[in-house]
Every structure is written in C-alpha cells, then in structure tokens.
C-alpha cells in the first residue's frame, strides 16, 4: 500500500497529540512549574578522565538562596545506576570517566544562585590519560577504566568454517566500515519536576521510556521501597532510545528529598550534548567471499563498538549487531566477533535501530562490493543469497516464518527500475551527477531470548462507560497513543470512541516493560488478544442481566453489547457500567513478548523480524562533493498496518534520521571532549534536506498469529547503505565512513581523475587552443 492507499483507509486518523505538538502548544513535563519550586542543577566533570582529589562544597553552601548541595556522601542507597549493570555513579566519589560525570547537585531559589553555587564548588582533579580509541583501550597497556578492564562485553557467533569458505571462494571483498556517534537530538532536553508529598512519598514528573524501570532504579538509589515513588512520564518530547536510561532523575529526587521542596531541573542543549547517550560508533571489519555465480560462501566479521564510560545497554546493542551481521542472507561459513569497549568518550547506549544500523551499513556495503567484483547486478547478488520463508534466523534459531525478504526485494526491483527510467542522464547539469543505490535489511523486534521482555496491560470499564486501557510503556512520540484505540476497536470489537488510554503514570498503569525495540504496538495487540476471552465473558454476563438475554445470544460491539444475530445494541457500555455498580469489569494480564522456542539459542536471539528495502537517489555536486538525497523510497514488511498515519510517520521520520546518520550527524570528540557542543555544529537534517519519499507498506499475504511487528526502527536501518551505494553509482567512490565527509569524497574523486577539467562541458573544453576567440565570436553573433 502506498501513501495514498494508506490515507484512504478508515483507520487513517490524526494522532490525538499531533495538533498540539505541531503548534508548539503541548505542555511537556519540563514545562511544569510548581509554586515555590527550587531550581536544580548539576556540576559535571571538567575532565574526560581524572582522579578526584578533593571536593569542597562549603563556599557554595554560603551563597544566598542555595538550599542544598549534594555529593556522593548524600546518597542514602546505591550510588550507582544502569538498566542492566549498575556501574554509573550518581555522584562520582574519587574518579570521573567522561565529561558528563556528575560530582555535585545544587538546588537554589533562582537560576543565578544556582549558577553561582555550581561555580563555587571546588574540585581538585588529577587528570588521567584519556582513552579515546576503543582499539587502544583493548591494549594490555591501556589505562583501565573499570576494575574489570575496558572490555565491557564480548559476543561471538560462528557457523561452519570460514577458512574453508574463503578457500572455495572465487572472489573475496574486504573493507573496514566506520559509523558516527549519532545523537538522538530529541526536541525536549532532559529534565523534570520532583515533588515531595505530605505522606512521605515522592512524585517525579520526568519523561522516560519506562516509568517502572526508572522507579526501580530510583528506589535502589534512595534505599526505598518502590511503592513510595510515583513516576509520571508522559508526554515526552522525543526519545529515540535516549531516555530509557536514567538521566537527571536521581538528582531531582535527591534534591527534593533533602530540601523537602519541589525541585525542577531542565538541561540546556549544551548540557544535554555533554551528558546524554549517543549511538555506538562502530568500526566493523568485514571479509566476504563468494563463488563465481554469486553465492556467498564465507563471511568474517569483527565489530568494535565504542561504548564509552559506562555500560547502560552496551552489551545488548553489541549482541544485536552480532546477530544482524549476516542480515537476511543465508551463509554457510560465518564468523562474527564483537567487542564493546569502554573509553572516555561519552556514554553510548540505546538508539533506534539498536546496533542494526551500523552493521547493516557494513553488510550492505559488502554486498555492493561483491556485486562489483563479480560484475553482477547488486540486486541479483542479494537475491541469490536471500533467506526463504521458513529458513532459520541469523543465529540458527527458529523464527516466525516470513516472506518479508522476497517482498522487499521485489519492491526494490520495481522502484529502482522506475527511478532509473525517470533519470534521463541528459537532465543533469555538467557539474552534477546522479546516482541510485539500494539496500535491504532484516530487523529483530522485541528484546529477544532470555531478556526481561515483559508485556501486559489492563482493560477496565469506567463508571462512565468508557473502556479504559492502561499500559506501563510510554508514548514517546512514536504514536502508540493513536494505535491503541484502533487495536482495541479491532480486538475488543468496540468503537475507537469507546476507548480511553492511560499511559505514563506508575500510579495508574500496570507493568508492561519499556517502549523499546519496536515492541509497543505488538505488545498492545498480544495483550488485547489475551485479555479478550475474559473481558468478553465478564461483559456479556452483565449485559445478559441488563438485557435479559442469554449470554450466547450476545456479542461485543461498538458502543456496547449487541444481539449476536440481529446486531441490535442491547446494552450500552454505560448501561453495563451502571448495572455493575462497584464491581466494574476489569481484566489485567502479564505476559512475555514472543520468543523463539529454541531455548539453546544465544541470549537476545529474536523471533519476530521486520524487513525493509530502500532505493535512494542522490545528486552529487562534482565541484564541491555536496551530496543531496533527492529520493528515498522504502518498502517495509512489518506485518499488518495498525495505524496508517503512525506507520507513514515512523518510516518517513526514520528515513530522515537515517539520512542524517549517512550524511551529516556526528558528535565529534577530541580527547574525550565534544567538538560539536551544540546544534550549530552538530547538524541534523532540516526540512530542506528532506527528499521525495515514497513508501510501500507491504501487507503479508497470509497473516500469522503474531500480529503487527512495529515500525519504530525499521525505517532508519537500511537508509545509509542505500545512500552510500547511490554515491558510488554517481562518483565511483566507495564510502567506508559515515557520515560522508565532503572533503574525503572530493579527494577520492580527484584520485579517480574526476576533476573539474574532466567535467567541463565538452564545447568548453575541446580545442583549447582556438577555443577562446571562436566561442566568444559565435556567442556574440
């Protein structure tokens, strides 16, 4: 279904929060004010790596208007956090490992007192050598950032014998690929408001992808039972993975607790850049061998990820990259070795695509190089190695059968032909060259095998006859808030208008895990499916009483319960609510995201996958090597379309994010310090960079019982390799490092003899000796 077809679906409804957000009227949690609230802030490290010799807060405490200055001594519970491994200090005691590390927090009456106090805190550092390259960090001689050393995580996978595979190969291609430290660049920087309640509990208004996750982490830090903390986490001004981990919440809570007053923190963009998570920069070496007829025989991969100072989700991101190193291709001899390495370069963590974007750039680059070496169409090489519907997954595990790979390849073939026929070569000017590139990908959804991938939710009838659906994951801009009523209408047979959605408040929602890994939409569907039988029987039994019918003659429907056959409404949801009195129907379930039945498979192995095929068109200015993406078309196979507007939004938005990753986004660091400290130098695409985008939402011919797959990530994954391939098509230069640097591209073009003199229009460059006078004579006549 293309965009027009999606638009014409009855389920094409504007997202409820869209208008407010587009007009800038939405009040986010960081817009909240509370009478008498204090302003909080934190002091971050002056050094990317140093020992702390001394911390003196006495002068700061004397500044008028300062209410609290906290350091590590003031943490009642665990002075560490981290979703899986708690290794990140809330406050550093004796050592800092990156420029975002926190030494102290201050609450004051005003911004100016706060700033003075932060400036008055004296910290004596002893700078340590900065570890800025993962390869260097792995050396035995390197300074160790943690007692366990600098290797956070190692993950390998192998099948067959790559030596044997290469020996049998007719061609072998080899390259090193490098990917940038991309920043999430959510519109709303980190912050929130924390209120100490009269009953001794804390309410924390702070955007996150996982309210319950934050609650558990904060309880550990405060040494409290979780129930004493309430997290309100919606609405959120963007996250993309960047707000799953804690950021300023611990300081909000500790400051509010120590002053007994409400405290607000809202980070500036500069501080957000300095402290926030980024996408893992990866250096990926790949060697791939194939037979003359294009069958891949061996694939050898080494991934080194720069995970920065602390763990957060570094191990899981690496596992994902290792799993996706072979993508949708079936290869007999495979060896993948992955290392996630600590450095003093910020902290890398969860980010839309979760390691898939990096490894797909490399893998698809290999496919193009193989095609080139074989003199074969890049599409054909891919086809010859593609998985079939019931093939096992990349780690050898059983996965839900899917024809997604073939479907997206068919899209790519069709769209590429269409795009190429549009490009009459003559239409470009002398100094511009166009190129077309393709890429495909296969992307796992959910957290995977043996990961705490809880789902669940609650349905209940309200006193006013609304069907209230509550989930513990968040609306983080992805549009699940619009998808929930649509899914409810479908699974519970009600009308969209019957539904009320509750998200983002631990006091009102059950646990459902995090909004991550493209799982929210799928989770809603699974949960509702499981809720349905109980819900139906509870509702029908009350309706039977109200309507004086047999339950078996009734069914759920829009607005209430209907006669099974005639279809007439016999008891509205309000009637049922009235009849139920205090005993309103309610069903709550907890379950787990679907995983592979092969329990022997590696941790994190996925069961459900989605697919994307991308066709990118670029225009390269040969004089400057500026690259413009003029077309970005994606065919996506992700199960059924639940919320068409949300689907389009995710794929287009993801596409633009992928374009930024390919062409401009990189949080540059030198010796552990950010060079791009704000959005004047860290560039993301603007509306002017957004190309023509076409979308084909490929609907499965036969639907399985695993429901929609979620499209939060898939639209970002294969964009960069398609753009890189298009640049190669235009210029002959192979791109190995992202973002594509113009200076590198221009120099590479020059090496290939692509200089001004070659491109000058032929009438200007021919017959140089007599050209001047004749040309002018003829043009003036």
């Amino acid at each position: 279904m293309d965009r027009d077809q999606l638009r014409s679906l009855p389920t094409w409804i504007p997202r409820p929060d869209g208008w407010e957000k587009a007009r800038g009227r939405m009040r986010y949690l960081t817009d909240l004010h509370h009478p008498g609230m204090l302003i909080g802030g934190v002091l971050r490290s002056d050094y990317p790596h140093a020992r702390i010799r001394h911390i003196d807060t006495s002068r700061a405490l004397q500044i008028p208007g300062v209410r609290a200055v906290l350091t590590w001594r003031d943490v009642p519970g665990l002075n560490r956090y981290g979703i899986v491994i708690q290794d990140q200090p809330v406050f550093c005691e004796d050592r800092v490992r990156y420029v975002g590390d926190v030494i102290a927090a201050v609450a004051a009456d005003s911004h100016s007192s706060l700033e003075q106090a932060l400036a008055a805190i004296q910290v004596v550092y002893e700078p340590l050598p900065v570890v800025s390259q993962p390869e260097e960090a792995l050396r035995r001689t390197s300074v160790k950032l943690h007692p366990t050393g600098n290797l956070l995580h190692r993950r390998t996978f192998s099948r067959g014998d790559v030596k044997q595979g290469f020996a049998a190969s007719a061609v072998v291609v080899e390259a090193v690929y490098e990917t940038p430290r991309q920043m999430h660049t959510y519109m709303e920087t980190e912050g929130g408001l924390c209120i100490p309640e009269p009953d001794g509990s804390l309410t924390l208004y702070a955007p996150t992808q996982h309210g319950y996750g934050d609650r558990a982490q904060l309880a550990r830090i405060l040494g409290w039972p979780e129930e004493r903390i309430r997290i309100v986490s919606s609405p959120i001004g963007g996250s993309f993975g960047g707000k799953d981990e804690l950021n300023v919440q611990p300081y909000l809570a500790l400051l509010a607790l120590s002053t007994g007053m409400p405290v607000k923190i809202h980070q500036s963009r500069a501080e957000s850049v300095r402290s926030g998570l980024k996408r893992h920069p990866m250096r990926i070496w790949m060697r791939t061998g194939a037979s003359r007829d294009g069958r891949i025989l061996a694939h050898d991969v080494r991934i080194v990820a720069d995970t920065g100072a602390y763990a957060t989700l570094g191990p899981a991101v690496l596992d994902f990259a290792v799993e996706h190193a072979t993508g949708p291709y079936v290869i007999d001899h495979v060896r993948v070795r992955g290392y996630s390495v600590h450095t003093n370069c910020g902290v890398a963590g969860e980010f839309r695509g979760f390691g898939g974007n990096q490894v797909t750039f490399a893998l698809e680059g290999q496919m193009d190089r193989l095609a080139d070496a074989l003199g074969m169409d890049p599409l054909e090489v891919r086809r010859r190695n593609f998985r079939a519907t019931s093939d096992r997954g990349p780690l050898g595990q059983t996965i839900a059968p899917t024809e997604g790979a073939d479907e997206v390849l068919a899209f790519v073939e069709r769209k590429r032909a269409e795009v190429q026929s549009r490009h009459a070569p003559s239409s470009a000017s002398a100094y511009h060259r166009r190129g077309v590139g393709i890429a495909v990908t296969m992307h796992g959804g959910g957290l995977g095998l043996r990961r705490p991938d809880h789902t669940g939710g609650r349905v209940r009838l309200t006193r006013h006859g609304k069907i209230e659906l509550a989930f513990g994951f968040e609306e983080c801009g992805q549009g699940v808030i619009a998808a929930i009523p649509l899914l409810a209408a479908e699974v519970l047979d009600c009308a969209v208008e019957d539904v009320e959605v509750v998200l983002g408040d631990t006091s009102r929602v059950p646990r459902s895990g995090s909004s991550t890994a493209s799982r929210a939409t799928g989770m809603v569907w699974h949960t509702l499916k499981r809720i349905r039988p109980d819900w139906e029987s509870k509702m029908l039994s009350i309706a039977a009483r109200v309507a004086e019918r047999r339950e078996s003659d009734l069914r759920l429907g829009p607005g209430g319960v209907h006669e099974r056959n005639a279809g007439r409404l016999v008891a509205s949801y309000s009637d049922i609510a009235a009849a139920a009195g205090d005993d309103l129907p309610e069903v709550e379930i907890a379950s787990h995201f679907p995983v592979t039945p092969d329990t022997w498979a590696q941790d994190g192995a996925h069961y459900l996958y989605s697919f994307a095929g991308v066709v990118a068109e670029v225009d390269v200015d040969l004089l400057t090597a500026e690259v413009r993406v003029t077309g970005l078309h994606q065919g996506v196979w992700a199960g059924r379309v639940v919320n068409p507007m949300g689907y389009v939004g995710q794929i287009e938005g993801g596409g633009v994010m992928g374009l930024g990753f390919a062409l401009m986004e990189d949080a540059l660091m030198e010796e552990g310090r950010y060079v791009t400290r704000n959005l004047d130098t860290y560039l993301i695409p603007t509306a002017l960079d957004v190309p023509e985008m076409e979308l084909d939402a490929i609907i499965p011919k036969m639907e399985d019982d695993h429901g929609p797959r979620g499209v939060g990530e898939i639209g970002t994954v294969a964009v960069a390799p398609a753009i890189a391939a298009a640049i190669h098509d235009a210029t002959g230069v192979w791109i190995t490092a992202l973002p594509v640097r113009q200076d590198v591209l221009l120099a590479e073009m020059a090496k290939r003899g692509e200089t001004l003199w070659r491109w000058m229009p032929s009438d200007a460059s021919k017959e140089w000796t007599s050209w001047g006078r004749e040309r002018i004579a003829s043009s003036s006549s």
């Binding site: 603007t686 040309r775 043009s779």
Partner: protein, 279 residues
C-alpha cells in the same frame, strides 16, 4: 548573567556610551550573533548598547541615486522583502537568504552580519559596498575592505549605514555558500565573484572574495590581476584554478580540511568564469 541594556537615541549618544563603558560594552543590533556566542560559552560584554531607538535611521533599505542605503537597524528579512532589492540587487537578495533561517532573518541585521563577518561580507567586498560610521564626533565613509582592515584601531566606531551600488546588468555575479546541509548552518566557505568582460571576450574585471565560517573575509587581488585584460584560454583557466588555491587564506577544522576549501573555491570560481564567458 543577564546583560544591562542601554537605549541611546542618537548615533552620538550611542558612541559616547561606548566610549565611556569601554570593553565591557558592545553595540547590539539583532543580538543574534551575540547570543550565539554566549550559547557557545564565549564571554560577551555585559553592557549592551542597543541601536533600536536611534532616530534618523530607517528600518527598511532605501534606494538613493542607484545606491542602496541599509541603515543599522535594517534586518535581512526587510532586505529580502524589498522590491527595489529584488529588482536591482538580486544577488544581495540571494546572499541574505544564505544567513540562518527565516525566523532568524527577522531579527538579524545587515550591519550586524557585516561586523560579525558573516555570509554577506564576500558579496559586500565584491560589490564595492562602503559604509558610514560614526567615530570621534564625525561620520566617516570607508569601503568595506578598508574598514575590515582598519577596524581594529577604531573599535568604538558605530556603523550607521552600508551603501551598496546597484548591480549592473552587464556584470555577472556568482554567489555560493558551501556547507554540510541544505540550509541553516555555518558555512564551510562562502564565495562571491563578479565578472565583466568586453564584447570581444576580454576580461575587464574579475572580483573574487572568500568568507563565511571563521574566515577573515578577503578578496583575491592576485587572482583578479591574473585575468584582467586577458582573453580566456585553457591555460589561463588552469592558472586561475591554481592561483585561487595558493592565494586564498583558509583553515582546517573538524568538518573540512583547508585543502578542501581551497579546491572547492577554485572549482566553483573557475567553472563560473568558464561558463560566464561561454555565453
């Protein structure tokens, strides 16, 4: 820290204010450049002498005897909106749009851009613009290039107006800002060039200026002299390409090498010259 704001009502008063406050003060037009610097962590003066209330200066550009007078309060948006500019200064119109994004241009001024050595300066250098400034109780007029060279010595001078000669029809112009995305960004390099030739194809006048980013905006006099009075020939184009690279002063930074900037300017200007003479 919040700056202290002064609102003088005449050029003389503003200048006197600056003279008294010295280095702790600066003139402020749209304040966009100053805010950008403050946001990057640079220290900016704490006393702001705002030009908003200065009488006698217009808010819109005015055409006087084939010259465009742009007063110290005129924003880039006003220049872009001016029908005179669209008609007779189409390349000024173009370069104003190089700067920032629409909302920013409603606030940012031409004079502020000139003093901050922004993207307009290469154009101003090539177009032969001059400026009026108030200093030591008198108005002085200097060419933009002269002013750029000597401003260090007269840092209290208050620029009151920029005067830009009409773009002549027989002069060809070339304006380009090279950056890392399609718009709203700092330049890697900004280029302006103009070319005049006689009917027989002899180059009367080539002007080339380079600026943008943290370049000190400058013309390339040797390059300009190289082709003056010459007829275009392939060897001359090659010499031009070489000389642009050797004459221009540029820099390496985290985003592009100096070499890249040199080659890009040489490519663009050479291609411009070649195509302009083609007809």
């Amino acid at each position: 820290m919040e700056p202290r704001v002064w609102l003088p009502t005449s050029l003389a008063e503003a200048w006197a204010c600056k003279r008294t406050l010295g280095d702790s003060a600066c003139y402020v037009a749209g304040s966009t450049w100053l805010q950008l610097r403050a946001a990057s962590g640079d220290t900016v003066p704490s006393e702001w002498i705002c030009v908003d209330e200065i009488a006698d200066e217009r808010d819109v550009p005015v055409e006087v005897d084939s010259t465009l007078h742009v007063g110290l309060r005129v924003t880039l948006a006003e220049v872009i909106r001016s029908s005179a500019v669209r008609r007779h200064w189409p390349h000024l119109h173009q370069v104003c749009r190089f700067v920032g994004a629409p909302a920013l241009r409603e606030q940012a001024t031409v004079v502020g851009n000139l003093v901050a050595q922004g993207d307009l300066v290469p154009y101003l250098l090539v177009s032969g613009a001059s400026l009026l400034s108030w200093n030591e109780g008198a108005i002085e007029e200097k060419s933009v290039s002269e002013w750029l060279t000597f401003r260090g010595a007269t840092s209290d001078a208050l620029v009151s107006r920029v005067k830009i000669p009409k773009e002549l029809e027989h002069v060809r112009f070339f304006m380009r800002k090279v950056g890392r995305r399609a718009g709203f960004q700092p330049a890697l390099v900004t280029i302006a060039a103009s070319l005049e030739n006689d009917d027989s194809g002899v180059i009367d006048d080539l002007r080339v200026a380079v600026g943008g980013g943290v370049h000190w905006p400058h013309r390339l006099p040797q390059v300009e002299a190289l082709v003056r009075g010459e007829r275009l020939r392939p060897s001359l184009l090659r010499e031009l390409h070489r000389m642009i690279q050797s004459e221009m002063r540029t820099y390496d930074d985290a985003f592009a090498t100096a070499e890249y900037r040199r080659v890009v300017v040489a490519n663009l200007v050479t291609a411009f010259v070649a195509s302009a003479l083609e007809g």
